[in-house]
């Protein structure tokens, strides 16, 4: 079953402050993501990878086309869905993990990670326990668990970010460069965590430049160039 079907997706930015200049980031994008499939999204900087991901999360409003998402409650077009509907899906099913952690002031690492679970579980102690477990698996030093992530290194922040994205076990995970600033051992841990989600049926769209990461987890690769899909290749593992 396809969890996502993208048809003729186009994204054009109209910059009013530059006299209405138009920049096309994506055009004529067609592809699907199967349930439990991991797709690696590749392409040079500026090829449209992040724009595509942000259209799927509705951080960007698509200009035309449709993004049909099969939610637990039925099929919905994420291009036209109401804001409330998108919010409800983000809370329950769809998770976006950006390349950089957007830090929340004065919130300790463990609570940053536990937060998505606190929204659904309402049991704060359980959510925190789960967060500690994840931080342990990801090898974040225990003395940092109660510290504020704003002071953390790039790799430490990235682990917080990944943990936060997967703790609530989303049905669709949109993840941008999850292993970029990690050493090989930690990379393997992140890859294993994502593959574990896949076993439970989570579908993953993952932007990465890292051949090692893609080779170990991508079922298929989607290569973008100039806002078009250049190739859509199933991996031969």
């Amino acid at each position: 079953m396809n969890i996502v079907e993208v048809h003729q997706l186009t994204k054009t930015f109209e910059l009013h402050i530059l006299n209405g200049k138009r920049i096309t980031a994506l055009s004529g994008i067609d592809f699907a993501i199967e349930e439990g499939e991991i797709i690696g999204l590749t392409g040079k900087s500026g090829s449209g990878k992040s724009s595509l991901m942000k259209c799927l999360y509705r951080t960007y409003l698509a200009t035309s086309g449709e993004i049909l998402y099969t939610a637990q409650a039925g099929v919905i077009d994420l291009v036209k869905a109401k804001d409330h509907e998108v919010l409800a899906l983000r809370r329950a099913e769809i998770r976006y993990c950006s390349q950089f952690l957007s830090v929340i002031p004065r919130v300790p690492a463990v609570d940053v990670v536990a937060e998505p679970l606190m929204r659904t579980e309402r049991n704060r102690d359980l959510a925190r326990a789960r967060a500690r477990q994840m931080l342990e698996v990801l090898g974040l030093p225990t003395e940092l668990w109660d510290a504020y992530p704003v002071t953390f290194s790039g790799g430490e922040q990235q682990r917080i970010n990944v943990a936060r994205a997967i703790i609530a076990r989303p049905r669709l995970l949109l993840i941008d460069e999850p292993t970029a600033s990690l050493d090989t051992r930690t990379k393997d841990v992140v890859i294993d965590l994502i593959r574990e989600l896949k076993q439970d049926g989570t579908s993953v769209l993952c932007i990465s430049h890292d051949e090692y990461t893609l080779g170990k987890m991508a079922d298929r690769r989607l290569h973008l160039s100039g806002g078009h899909i250049l190739s859509n290749v199933t991996a031969t593992i």
Binding site: L15, T59, Y60, L61, V75, I76, H84, P105, R106
Partner: protein, 283 residues
């Protein structure tokens, strides 16, 4: 199909309008962002806000952003009955099962709604607190208005609320004038949530506070929101505050909503020329 029950709104607002002065029938149509003014050229009346409509769902945080004079505070003041509307309707689900236009309620009904179903935190603590009462007295006042009578219980609840908002309970009998700005805001928050309202208005609550104090107040609001599930309308000119606290945002200019959407969409893919300018000015 519907993922979010369309009928489960907490607050429904339609065509909310406030005009100062003596407008004529063309006042509203001759003002707004496309005219670059909210002052009517024929009557010089001022359109503080016009045609504002939105739905707020339980536990949701809605931001209203815009520059000074855009009408963002007017919206909140109208809904909290601080000022009288010129036109428009608002329905609050827990009041009369959402069938009564609260903007046309009687004075007594409005007092009931303010004391039981809403709370507000103003930019200036002097607007929200009575400076001749102690901090505990201020909270007690709100509790008494909602029908609490037992002095011991009132004191206990006030202490609990002050503790919750990180105000030292031993300072319960001190007057707000003896408190720092950040502490005064926290007392205001205690007072606003004293009766567990489902809806809270926050109007520029961190404007004018030091950065570290600001972070503490924002963090407190986030925590209370998560823990108590209160729906909030957050008015701010500060996009960082909007980004940190809200799920959805309305952008206002010259008394009109020029754009609305998910907060991350407003910040990263603004559609309206004014929003693009606003976002590009973000530090």
């Amino acid at each position: 199909m519907s993922f979010h029950n369309e009928h489960s709104w907490l607050l429904k607002v339609r065509n909310l309008t406030k005009v100062y002065g003596e407008p004529n029938e063309r006042t509203v149509e001759l003002t707004g962002p496309e005219f670059g003014t909210n002052i009517c050229p024929e009557t010089e009346s001022i359109v503080a806000c016009a045609g504002v409509s939105f739905d707020l769902f339980p536990g949701e945080v809605l931001g209203i952003v815009g520059e000074s004079g855009s009408g963002k505070s007017t919206v909140v003041k109208l809904l909290y009955f601080d000022i009288e509307k010129t036109a428009g309707s608002a329905w609050l689900r827990p009041y009369g099962d959402g069938k009564t236009n609260i903007l046309e309620a009687s004075g007594q009904q409005k007092r009931y709604i303010r004391n039981h179903l809403m709370g507000t935190v103003y930019q200036n603590p002097r607007d929200g607190l009575n400076f001749s009462f102690s901090s505990g007295g201020n909270i007690a006042e709100k509790l008494i208005m909602a029908g609490h009578m037992h002095v011991g219980n009132i004191r206990e609840r006030a202490a609990y609320l002050l503790d919750k908002t990180e105000v030292p309970v031993r300072r319960m009998d001190d007057r707000p004038a003896a408190f720092s700005g950040g502490m005064q805001q926290r007392v205001q928050i205690s007072k606003a949530i004293a009766n567990n309202p489902p809806l809270l208005f926050l109007d520029e609550v961190t404007t004018g506070l030091d950065v570290s104090v600001q972070a503490r107040v924002l963090d407190l609001i986030r925590e209370l929101q998560q823990e108590l599930g209160i729906a909030m309308i957050v008015v701010s000119h500060d996009l960082s505050v909007i980004r940190m606290l809200t799920d959805r945002t309305l952008v206002m200019k010259h008394g009109r909503v020029v754009e609305s959407g998910l907060t991350d969409q407003i910040l990263q893919d603004p559609q309206h020329a004014y929003t693009q300018l606003l976002v590009s000015s973000l530090l």
